[in-house]
């Protein structure tokens, strides 16, 4: 697409590391083959995903204008994957191990954002960058320019080891056991393209944390979570990791399990390889929805999994790379550019406010780590260059991205803070309140993600706007520290499960029309490496969410016990009370058309941009009653669980699913109340025909019903009942989705 594309290869030939240059050459050749129709589209799709070249909304060539689904008349070319048109713009994900960047790398990303994207670089919840609206034929140039400054996009997406994340304060945090940065970096490069990690059924996400009690590394929500620990052996302090496996958010979140409380650093790489081998060999390959490591672990049990991994470890041929970096890693210490300094009182309330929330004392006296709070994780090319200037002027280029979609500049002399603040302010990068209620995390949602159901960014932008206009003015310090995280759908990329106030996009019908909603999830725990997940309370129309936030924050402020966390407050209030607090907000006000559009998107809301709509003829409204009844039963199951009655809770969750399935079956005829018949007819009418299939997760949620139905009387403990309740909620959300799709308009010819 760009005239300069062929010339970049020559221009950069001297500057590219050989392995990265080869990688890009191969991908460019594959692009050529696919254009000639000589490479299968599915194969090409996976190969491009493994280079971080991702699809984007509307890339199937269809777009709803709110009334009808219209075709976008792209030129005719081979596809770049199933249902993905060649010329439709896509997203380029850029891997940043541990979030660490140099000034030159910031400048390169700025250039790419300006030349190939829309001028914005976006930071994700896994410390990556994303550029949107990139044409596939420009991606080799993008990759070469990144490789010239030591960045790769390899395995940024696809069924591979994704970005290795790490605490952005590693090396400067007073609470860490040791600096995990060199281990994270080495693991990232060691596993990239490693033969033991090439045959996964899904993605695999590693994360490092310097300590067990803070949030920064979020070790427990990852496939492989590594928490730094030390122990003394024969009078010598040894470094190692608590190793967690099988965590993950997604529709049903799983806490990682403790695999070992001490893996010596010398064993980090071989153990990771051994886990990769077991996952590659035994992990699910056909059913994507059960292909993450968490399901393998669930199926095998921790003990069996552990035995298999240790057996695999024994079989590995020794590799000098496992240990050749360890001596340097022990000595690793970033340097400071400027001498340590102290801060005198400024007399500026604005500066002091920023100082309180956006800076943190390092363990090295006289230095601070500074957080740059970005709106929705977005930064302009110009700001990236200004940031590059600042990190050169005040530090030895020690800057990292964070999982809260921000930057942290480390090693700032405290004496330089006023001058740095002035420069940040001039660059519009000094917004106070980092890590607080207005520092909202959001996934791309319906803005650009093909799976988005509701506009997470639209909601986040609206909340930010209301907060800026004074909606926070009467809140106390503790309430302002609550965290809001928003996902556009159940896939949890916005990490809503671990927020105080989490929201994920769902759709519901109101007066016969689909309306954007968010499921409210309260009391997740960010601390303790994401120690606990929130509780789903109710689905609320998107336009009522600001009021949900207002009510919950005011109630927390007024009624919490001294020192009580939001999670503790949610637990003490109980679901019934919380639901009652929000009850009137769960309904779409009659006749208010604004509720039928999403935040930031004036079109009449529809799910059709997620896939091809189908016309199922007449829509029978009683299904909505059944779905509402199913929702009620899930809620009752939650209450039973709260009352320590897991057996009853599990059975209620199962019945809720039956109710939802029955609602859909009744669109054709009433199957009665026999569970076997409901399930059989649901299977025949909706599963076998794929009518129930979500365009992107397929029949995953139907499997929850089938699994529950296979053993309806099984014994439940609190954990299994909790899981079944979450599954029931997802199944019912999917019933709503199916019903909405069936009643959507056909594609306009």
């Amino acid at each position: 697409m760009k005239v300069s594309n062929p010339a970049w290869k020559d221009r950069l030939s001297e500057r590219l590391p050989e392995n990265l240059a080869r990688e890009v050459d191969i991908f460019e050749a594959e692009i050529g083959l696919r254009k000639q129709g000589k490479l299968d589209e599915k194969l090409f799709a996976e190969t491009r995903l493994r280079r971080g070249v991702y699809g984007q909304r509307y890339d199937n060539g269809q777009r709803s204008d709110g009334r009808v689904l219209r075709r976008l008349p792209y030129p005719e070319h081979p596809s770049k994957g199933p249902n993905t048109l060649w010329d439709a713009p896509g997203m380029q994900r850029i891997k940043v191990p541990g979030g660490g960047l140099s000034a030159a790398q910031l400048e390169t990303i700025a250039e790419l954002a300006e030349e190939y994207s829309d001028g914005i670089a976006h930071i994700t919840t896994r410390q990556d960058f994303q550029l949107h609206y990139v044409h596939i034929e420009n991606t080799p140039s993008v990759m070469r320019r990144l490789a010239a400054v030591g960045i790769t996009t390899r395995e940024a997406c696809g069924n591979a080891v994704r970005n290795v994340t790490a605490c952005p304060y590693a090396g400067v945090c007073p609470d860490e056991a040791f600096d995990v940065s060199p281990y994270a970096t080495r693991l990232a490069w060691h596993l990239m393209g490693h033969p033991d990690c090439q045959d996964f059924g899904r993605k695999f996400k590693p994360a490092f944390s310097g300590c067990g009690n803070h949030a920064c590394g979020l070790a427990k929500i990852h496939d492989l979570g590594l928490v730094a620990v030390t122990r003394e052996e024969n009078g010598v302090l040894q470094r190692g990791f608590q190793m967690y496996v099988g965590g993950g958010l997604g529709p049903v979140p799983y806490q990682a399990q403790l695999f070992s409380d001490f893996i010596p650093v010398a064993e980090l790489l071989p153990m990771a390889q051994a886990i990769g081998r077991v996952y590659a060999r035994l992990g699910e390959k056909k059913n994507r929805n059960r292909a993450r490591l968490k399901f393998l672990l669930h199926d095998l049990g921790l003990e069996k999994f552990r035995d298999l991994v240790f057996a695999e470890r024994q079989r590995l041929e020794p590799d000098p790379r496992w240990t050749d970096y360890l001596a340097a890693a022990e000595q690793n210490q970033e340097a400071a550019l400027r001498p340590a300094g102290e801060l005198s009182p400024s007399g500026s309330e604005k500066f002091e406010r920023w100082l309180r929330a956006n800076t943190r004392a390092q363990k090295q006296p006289g230095y601070a780590a500074v957080t740059i709070k970005l709106p929705l994780g977005d930064i302009t090319a110009r700001q990236l260059r200004q940031l590059a200037d600042m990190v050169r002027r005040y530090t030895c280029e020690t800057v990292r991205t964070t999982v809260e979609q921000n930057f942290v500049i480390r090693w700032v002399s405290r004496g330089d803070l006023p001058a740095l603040y002035a420069e940040l302010e001039a660059a519009h990068l000094a917004e106070p309140g980092a890590g607080g209620i207005a520092d909202i995390v959001s996934c791309p949602g319906t803005d650009t993600c093909k799976l988005g159901i509701s506009s997470s960014r639209g909601l986040a932008a609206e909340l930010r706007r209301q907060f800026a206009q004074g909606a926070l003015d009467d809140l106390d310090e503790a309430t302002r520290k609550l965290r809001i995280k928003i996902s556009g759908c159940f896939n949890s990329c916005g990490q809503h499960h671990i927020a105080d106030l989490g929201f994920y996009g769902v759709s519901r019908k109101a007066a016969g029309q689909a309306a954007p909603h968010f499921q409210v999830v309260l009391g997740g725990e960010w601390e303790d490496n994401a120690g606990a997940y929130g509780l789903p309370i109710a689905a609320v129309p998107a336009k009522h969410i600001p009021e949900v936030v207002r009510r919950l924050t005011r109630r927390f402020q007024a009624d919490r016990q001294p020192g009580q966390s939001f999670r503790g407050f949610v637990q003490s209030l109980g679901r019934s009370e919380l639901k009652a607090l929000l009850e009137d907000l769960t309904r779409v006000p009659a006749g208010d058309a604004s509720f039928l559009s999403d935040w930031g998107d004036p079109r009449v809301y529809s799910l059709e941009d997620m896939g091809v709509g189908e016309c199922a003829g007449e829509v029978i409204s009683p299904v909505e009653f059944d779905l509402a009844a199913a929702e009620r039963q899930v809620f009752e199951a939650q209450l039973a669980l709260e009352r320590q009655q897991p057996q009853a809770a599990g059975q209620m969750a199962y019945r809720a699913m039956l109710q939802g399935a029955k609602g859909l079956v009744k669109l054709n005829h009433n199957p009665g109340d026999d569970p076997a018949r409901i399930v059989a007819e649901f299977r025949a009418q909706y599963f076998d025909t794929r009518l129930f299939f979500d365009p992107f997760v397929g029949g995953q949620f139907a499997q929850y019903l089938f699994a529950a139905h296979a053993s309806p009387d099984r014994a439940h403990d609190a954990a299994s009942a909790g899981t079944l309740i979450r599954e029931a909620q997802l199944f019912i959300d999917a019933c709503h989705g199916c019903y909405n799709r069936l009643s959507a308009e056909p594609v306009e010819a």
């Binding site: 697409m1 777009r63 250039e111 260059r385 706007r465």
Partner: protein, 188 residues
Amino acid sequence: MELEHLAFKLFIAPPPEATVAALVPVFHSWITAGSAEELLIDVADYRHVPEGPGVVLIGFRADYSLDHSGGRWGIRYYRKAPLAGGNLDRLLHAARATLNACRRLQADSRLSGGIRLDGHEFEIQVCDRLLAPNTASAQQEFTAELAPFLERFLRGGPYRLTYDNDPRSLLATRVTSEYIFELDHSLS
């Protein structure tokens, strides 16, 4: 010097916040109407980013935006796909597309007259650092390449070019003229 991937930004007076917000549905309606020259795909709303790209109408071959980069508001056209012809043709194409967009926005009652053209200043960028790096020699060449175009656009009137000399920036110049150009400029 090949002037591909041009961006043309006509500066406007700072629009009221309501106008910027109202632009989102206006751009959506352009996609629905399908009446612009380019295939239009999506609207990217960056109002939350200070001095950012503003509201962008993403197209296949070109984007349109109400842009606030560098702290100056303007109607911006960015040609992503290559254009046939010589540099003058490409500059004329970009200028026409920007003027047309501006005209259309000014006529749209939903924007309540909030788009008011400055008339004296505009900016031309080349969004490709390989074709056009921001060096002193490239600036000289660019100045020469622009001359015939500016002669037509400003009807022979005098003008001044201002460059940003940061070598990391895109090659871009701000054109200031005494002559007030009009939206119905025929560019003939």
